[in-house]
């Protein structure tokens, strides 16, 4: 055996062994030692094959900007009062600007000074408005707005990650996509509706004091006094489970928010044997809770989650220690989920579901079965066709084809690529196209034989002449596959991956491996006739 052949044969055997080694975790996961599984992962299946949920959420970043302005307004209002600056009104306009209405220039200067000191990043503008008022506009700069938006998405992603971690899904994927979008993939999730409600909840927890002196009927009719708002309390009838809503008027001002929580847990109320959520405040929150309860003994405090009042107990005494409870006739799963979202923190802005693809596990298994059946039957048909057409040389091509499939699977596992349903289609397609290279070579060899060349020389010439043609033809297909990978999303990307891997593997097997096989069988023999 010549040295060159030994070397090339050795390379093929090495690739084959490496491939089998890489494929083993996919085929026989349970019977392998741990170090083996650590080296090579089994082939990752896409959500369309293993079942699961693919979500794209859009963060309402404009809301984040609004709430940032609202915070500034709250703080400025307090400061203006503290400094005894006379103003008529302070409000938010057009989402991104705060307007202070004042009576004269003198106070205007004071407002400007205060704002310049407290919020140097705000852009100021003075407009003399109707009715002799002066309007002081303060607007977030474009940079600042971009920052707020960016931060909102990052924080939302962080919060989502916390929630998903506590939800208990194996190998979740959370990614920030372009702009304000977040991609979440939850493989094998059992209860998609629960996952959506858990992820989509803003979970903004607020404590507000109930305005007992306001007539609720007036409020419902739309006549609200300044500084109050109408909310609805959710009541669940313990016996029937029916949910009713009771109107309730509260003061606008949020006395405490969920940001100051340190923990939230599900406990069981022994009186009704039903779960409630116990919350603990951190040091700052506990102190503030202490002050608020002290100042409001006898009043009711509404516990508001995402604008729904869960309960509004009467404050009987000052509460030190910083714990409270949210009860509301929850089912145990509702209570668990509420505790999860409270622990994970609230979203900085509401999110909207832009895309949702959920595939049940049974459909995924069906797709795998059908895909593999197609590969096997399609492959078998090709094998028969090639064997009939090219006889023994056909067998060489078939060996190359089988090795090709082995290499593709191994490369999928080695690169940690994800196999999707279109990806399976890509493999089937490669099987059809992989024989093309061998067909090209064999047709060339036949031409050379017809010219009267000896078998070995004809093989040599056939491989040589077909080589560039094959490279040109495959590189252009590879080009299309790479573009597809760049622009494709999800399953389409999976197709591009298997197609690219398939092209590379088939170039190797059709040009290199098949040649090694020929050389191996023809070495040292004086072959008169080639079975082709």
């Amino acid at each position: 055996m010549s040295n060159s052949l030994k070397l090339r044969g050795g390379l093929v055997v090495f690739c084959l062994l490496l491939s089998l080694f890489a494929m083993a975790p996919t085929l026989m996961r349970d019977s392998l030692p741990q170090w083996w599984l650590d080296t090579f992962d089994p082939i990752h299946l896409g959500l369309d094959l293993q079942g699961g949920m693919h979500l794209v959420l859009g963060v309402d970043v404009d809301k984040a900007v609004e709430s940032r302005i609202d915070t500034v307004i709250d703080q400025t209002e307090t400061q203006l009062r503290e400094k005894d600056i006379i103003f008529k009104r302070i409000e938010r306009r057009q989402g991104d600007r705060m307007v202070v209405l004042i009576y004269d220039e003198e106070e205007g200067v004071k407002v400007d000074n205060l704002m310049a000191e407290s919020y140097p990043s705000l852009e100021a503008e003075t407009i003399t408005g109707v009715g002799g008022y002066i309007e002081k506009h303060y607007r977030l700069g474009d940079n600042e707005i971009a920052n707020v938006k960016d931060y909102a998405v990052r924080q939302a992603l962080e919060t989502m990650r916390n929630r998903v971690d506590q939800f208990g899904v194996s190998e979740p994927t959370l990614q920030r996509q372009s702009g304000n979008r977040i991609l979440i993939q939850l493989p094998g999730v059992k209860d998609p509706d629960r996952a959506i409600s858990l992820l989509g909840k803003t979970a903004r927890l607020e404590f507000k004091i109930v305005a007992e002196d306001v007539n609720v009927q007036d409020a419902i009719a739309g006549k609200l006094t300044d500084g109050t708002q109408l909310l609805y309390e959710r009541n669940t009838n313990r016996a029937t489970g029916a949910v009713t809503e009771t109107p309730l008027v509260v003061y606008d001002k949020t006395v405490l928010t969920g940001d100051l929580l340190s923990d939230a847990n599900v406990r069981i109320d022994t009186r009704f044997n039903e779960p409630y959520v116990a919350i603990d405040f951190n040091a700052v929150g506990a102190k503030r809770f202490d002050q608020i309860t002290a100042a409001n003994v006898g009043n009711r405090m509404a516990i508001v989650l995402d604008d729904t009042v869960y309960s509004a107990p009467v404050i009987r005494e000052r509460i030190a220690g910083g714990s409270a409870q949210i009860s509301g006739a929850f089912s145990s799963q509702e209570a668990t989920d509420l505790a999860i979202v409270l622990r994970a923190g609230s979203l900085p802005a509401p999110v909207k579901i832009l895309e949702n693809r959920t595939v049940g596990p049974s459909l995924g298994q069906d797709s795998i079965d059908k895909g593999i059946k197609s590969i096997l039957i399609g492959g078998l048909l090709v094998i028969v066709a090639i064997a009939v057409y090219y006889q023994l040389s056909g067998v060489v091509a078939i060996t190359a084809l089988v090795l090709n499939l082995v290499f593709i699977s191994a490369m999928l596992s080695m690169f940690g690529a994800t196999l999707t349903l279109p990806g399976l289609a890509g493999i089937v397609l490669t099987v059809g196209m992989a024989v093309d290279a061998n067909v090209l070579i064999f047709e060339r060899v036949r031409e050379e034989l017809r010219l009267g060349k000896a078998p070995k020389l004809a093989l040599e010439a056939g491989y040589g002449k077909a080589f560039l043609t094959i490279i040109d033809a495959n590189l252009t297909t590879l080009l299309a596959a790479l573009v597809l990978f760049q622009f494709g999303t999800g399953p389409v990307r999976g197709f591009a991956v298997t197609l690219s891997i398939g092209i590379i593997a088939s170039l190797f097997t059709a040009i290199f491996v098949s040649r090694v096989i020929f050389d191996f069988f023809l070495q040292g023999r004086n072959v008169k006739r080639l079975s082709i």
């Binding site: 509706d193 909207k352 579901i353 595939v359 049940g360 349903l421 089937v428 196209m433 252009t476």
Partner: protein, 304 residues
Amino acid sequence: MQLIKPDTNIDFVGKRKLALIVSAVLILIGLASLTIKGGPDYGIDFAGGTLVQVQFTEDTDPAAIKSALSGIDLGSLVVQSFGDNQNEFLIRVENTSAELQGLSAQIQSALEATYNEGSVDIRRVEMVGPQVGKDLRGKGLKAIFYAMLGILVYISWRFEFRFAVGAIIALCHDVLITLGAFSVFGKEIDLPIIAAFLAIIGYSLNDTIIVYDRIRENLGKHHKESFTFIVNRSINETLSRTLLTSGTTLLVVLTLFILGGGVIHNFAFAMLVGVLIGTYSSIFVASPVLILWEQRKKAAATEE
């Protein structure tokens, strides 16, 4: 075994007028169908909407499902059977409201009210918002555009510019006819179909390049022969390879089409049409374009 005898010499180039008519008719049928239907029939990936795949334990039909769902306000509603099964259906709704999580549950309970409890299995729910749909459509078009551009550059570099033009014309021809076939057969264009279009582009190109490669080689070998003769000879010389490769590819695509299941069905359909048309176009479109180019160049030269 041989399908094509070595000395075969079919006058493909001479039939290029006939081929032109065939191509024109196929493209026109497609365009007419597209015009009548007001553009391609986009699936939810591109148009936005909600798709629910339901499997029943018993056979039923779309009309019965529609009446079972009449209690819920779903807006426009399309029910189609999935694959060849009489117990599996796709329910497509235009609605993409934020209250979506309720939708599949609503559909399930409405169906279970009519059929039996536990006889309804929601196997897949896909919701795509209108904005995402628009983005995906843009991305898909971009992918096809850049793929073509890359191919143009590569072939101009490896061959000549006129070869690149011929290849691109053949590609547009193939994609247009496949698009038309989708419209005629009322099939929806979805994300995987864009992948199929790119695979068709790749495949058709593969075919075209192999013929071109032979033309390039023969141009060097036979200086005395006319360009038309060389092109025709090259097509004949590569004919057995063309038929064999198309044959094996068609075998697997057919397998996919028949056995691949509903999700992959349209993908396989696109490939089936694409492989047939791609093979045809590399013989009857890509090569005649070269001849046309050559003739116009000559005509321009004699005028001067």
